[in-house]
């Protein structure tokens, strides 16, 4: 089941990108984010792009896709979604 989960179950990940490493072929960082995402998943949808708190985006990915995108150029780190609680 865990092998299957790796390939099928999607979770939300926050993908931090090094904006300074954006290839010159892109004139807009959101296109670069989108391209990075599409390179690991045709079906993955971006939830948000972030401009101030981080450079990057959040998306639903399988664990395998998350590992793959970590290896893409310009990707700093990929963090799994965390649930916070009211105090």
């Amino acid at each position: 089941a865990s092998v299957e989960d790796t390939h099928v179950l999607k979770k939300t990940y926050i993908v931090h990108m090094a904006k300074s490493q954006m290839p010159a072929s892109f004139d807009d960082h959101t296109h670069w984010y989108d391209s990075s995402l599409k390179s690991v998943s045709d079906s993955a949808q971006m939830l948000y792009t972030y401009a101030n708190v981080l450079h990057g985006f959040s998306a639903r990915l399988t664990a395998e896709e998350a590992r793959s995108i970590e290896d893409r150029p310009g990707v700093l780190t990929v963090l799994e979604e965390v649930k916070y609680e009211l105090h």
């Binding site: 300074s20 939830l47 700093l76 780190t77 979604e81 965390v82 916070y84």
Partner: protein, 662 residues
């Protein structure tokens, strides 16, 4: 809120604060469950146009129109993509896909921080008074990130991202999520960017007290707020058939109990369930509780839920008894049936009567609202405690503020207990938590920001911390409800907030983004980890000896174990002793003055010296540095000593707490 303005001295010092002008330019962003815009606390009478700096919006959605915003509530947004990606589409029959607050928590926190004044506010007549936020003329922008299923980091980050675009000045987050490293913690990541933009980020410390190492939101660029009590209680006495009386608290309003004594039963003896003593749903046997007062033990399920369970089973009333987990802390609730909460000591005695008397009887006497309770404040038992498990060299929490039995605005979509079966609707509710103390500090920070618009978030926090108090007017130290003993800096941080003094702190400990980047270097973060927080390449200089302990923080945490291991500080020592040096720089924000230092520390095992012991300032914004040397002899692990460093020029007292850990 009612009472807290008086408790904090805001009512006596209206002339000190620039309420009419610059505070109205300050915008408080609140990330929470949304807002109930119809609350009278969002009346915008007397407020001028929305600040020209504002870039935000009032978003429409379910039960919410952009026209609901005004000159007080200037922005309202919602962020649900992360939530919906995990839990499916928002069920709009249960919660509004809009900034609308269907929970109450967000309306409570936002009105606490920046609500307008509302006369004759109360909850069923309890806590009556004029309710107001801490910064009545500040503007409020709400960012709904918490839903029935929780608050997800992708949404929180999106809201913080947008709030920075919108140009808020203060961010208030009464939420938390575990204790991961700063580069993994979305709130810490978002707060770093906010800090860089000059936004003060105030967060709740958490309700996991009184356990040690239980804090949330401990990044040094966050202001971490614990909770204390007010001088107000809502007494409701339990009177037993044997003539004994026990004090408790309650916010019950409704049909009274009969004037005669009623049969009294312990829930643990009216159930077939092993957890029946907790009054869990469906565990009480109706025949055994009908018409009786039922004693339930606190814990596991919600306090108000226990009352609903007793009521459902036909009980006439409830006594809710604390166990060791909560000790003597009494939290009042607006129960659905006549009920009161008692501390563990009283609870144990009542149970003893219940179990020994063949025909136990009781009644509950509701006494309304009492103010002037002393001593107050007390550190709330639930308030999360240090040491800081991520960076023990940074003392957290930073400060405490009122967080117990706080009255503030509430949602019209839900009753005061939050239970689905509670059909009552109230304009104000009384609830407790560090969620409630955090927006007090957020609002007070907005007041300070209005008075000192040029101050950095660190300077604002420093002013709040160094002027906080740790003793009552009679000179005795602030007490901790959990222990019944004096609280320590791990419980109260720098102490209880004192906004009137914070307005004119004399000296501040300032910090900018480069100081925090140096702090990350001292943590030995990798370049990637630093980039995750700083959003840029930053290379730690290999020739610089970065120090955790030299971060210019307004408090001193001295974890000797870390120092001996050489964790980013300057430690040395001889046989049997450890010497640690901390350097600080203070900025004069007052007139020319000479400050002299005094140190108090209740331990023979640590010697503290300060060099120089006098600092003279000839002009405003002048900076001076000093070094504190801690010389500690050997002590068993998990020994602690606490103290205080104070600089004074005769007019100002600039205090910093010390916590030494072996």
């Amino acid at each position: 809120t009612t009472r807290t303005p008086e408790f904090l001295g805001l009512d006596m010092s209206a002339d000190l604060f620039p309420e009419s002008d610059s505070v109205s330019d300050v915008i408080i962003g609140v990330l929470d469950t949304g807002v109930w815009p119809e609350s009278k606390s969002f009346d915008d009478s007397g407020l001028g146009p929305v600040p020209s700096s504002w870039r935000g919006e009032c978003e429409s959605g379910t039960n919410f129109s952009s026209s609901f915003c005004n000159r007080k509530l200037i922005g309202a947004r919602y962020f649900s993509k992360g939530y919906e990606a995990i839990l499916g589409p928002v069920d709009e029959t249960k919660e509004s896909k809009s900034p609308r607050d269907d929970d109450g928590h967000g309306t409570h926190t936002s009105t606490t921080a920046g609500g307008s004044s509302v006369a004759s506010a109360s909850l069923f007549g309890y806590a009556t008074g004029t309710a107001r936020g801490m910064a009545t003329r500040a503007r409020v922008a709400v960012y709904k990130v918490c839903w029935i299923g929780g608050c997800f980091s992708s949404d929180i980050l999106a809201a913080m991202d947008k709030s920075i675009d919108d140009n808020v000045n203060v961010l208030s987050l009464s939420l938390g999520g575990g204790g991961s490293d700063y580069y993994r913690d979305s709130v810490a990541i978002g707060a770093f960017a906010a800090m860089e933009k000059g936004i003060l980020v105030s967060c709740s410390a958490g309700n996991a007290g009184p356990s040690s190492f239980s804090l949330s939101n401990v990044a040094p660029w966050i202001t971490t707020v614990g909770a204390g009590t007010l001088d107000r209680e809502f007494p409701a006495y339990v009177s037993l058939g044997n003539g004994m009386n026990f004090s408790g608290v309650s916010l019950y309003k409704g049909d009274s109990l009969p004037t005669k004594m009623l049969p009294f039963v312990y829930a643990g003896n009216a159930t077939n369930s092993t957890t029946g003593n907790l009054c869990m749903t469906g565990t009480l046997i109706p025949e055994k509780v009908k018409g009786k007062i039922v004693l339930c033990d606190r814990g596991v399920n919600a306090r108000v839920q226990k009352g609903a369970v007793v009521k459902e089973a036909g009980g006439a009333g409830m006594v809710l008894a604390n166990t060791a987990a909560n000790g003597e802390e009494l939290v009042a609730d607006a129960h659905l049936l006549p009920a009161t909460a008692v501390g563990q000591i009283s609870g144990d005695k009542i149970k003893s009567y219940l179990l020994s008397d063949t025909d136990p009887t009781a009644t509950i006497l509701f006494e309304g609202t009492k103010v002037g309770i002393e001593p107050s404040p007390l550190v709330a038992a639930f308030s999360s405690r240090g040491p800081n498990s991520i960076t023990p060299e940074i003392l957290k929490p930073d400060i405490i503020a009122p967080g117990v039995n706080i009255l503030a605005g509430w949602s019209g979509a839900v009753g005061p207990t939050g239970l689905a079966t509670d059909n009552r609707r109230v304009e104000f509710n009384i609830i407790s938590g560090t969620s409630m103390s955090c927006p007090h500090v957020s609002g007070l920070a907005a007041l300070l920001k209005g008075a000192h618009p040029q101050w950095s978030p660190a300077a604002l926090r420093s002013a709040l911390m160094t002027t906080a108090y740790v003793v009552y007017k009679n000179g005795k130290p602030i007490q901790d409800i959990a222990s019944g003993k004096p609280s320590t800096p791990f419980d109260h941080g720098a102490g209880h907030v004192n906004p009137v003094s914070a307005l004119n702190p004399g000296l501040v400990y300032d910090l900018d983004v480069n100081d925090y980047l140096g702090f990350l270097c001292a943590l030995n973060y990798t370049a990637t980890q630093i980039s995750t927080l700083a959003r840029k390449n930053y290379t730690c200089d290999p020739t610089v000896k970065y120090s955790l302990t030299n971060l210019n923080y307004p408090s001193f945490s001295v974890p000797l174990q870390s120092a001996v291991m050489g964790r980013g500080g300057s430690a040395s020592g001889s046989v049997g002793s450890t010497v640690v040096k901390y350097t600080r720089t203070v900025t004069n924000v007052g007139a020319a003055a000479t400050y002299n230092v005094s140190v108090s520390l209740q331990s023979e095992s640590v010697k503290v010296s300060v060099e120089p012991d006098s600092l003279s300032f000839s002009e405003s914004n002048e900076k001076k540095s000093y070094t504190v040397t801690f010389t500690a002899s050997s002590m068993p692990s998990n020994s602690f000593s606490y103290g205080r460093i104070e600089w004074t020029d005769g007019k100002h007292i600039v205090g910093s707490p010390i916590a030494v850990s072996w």
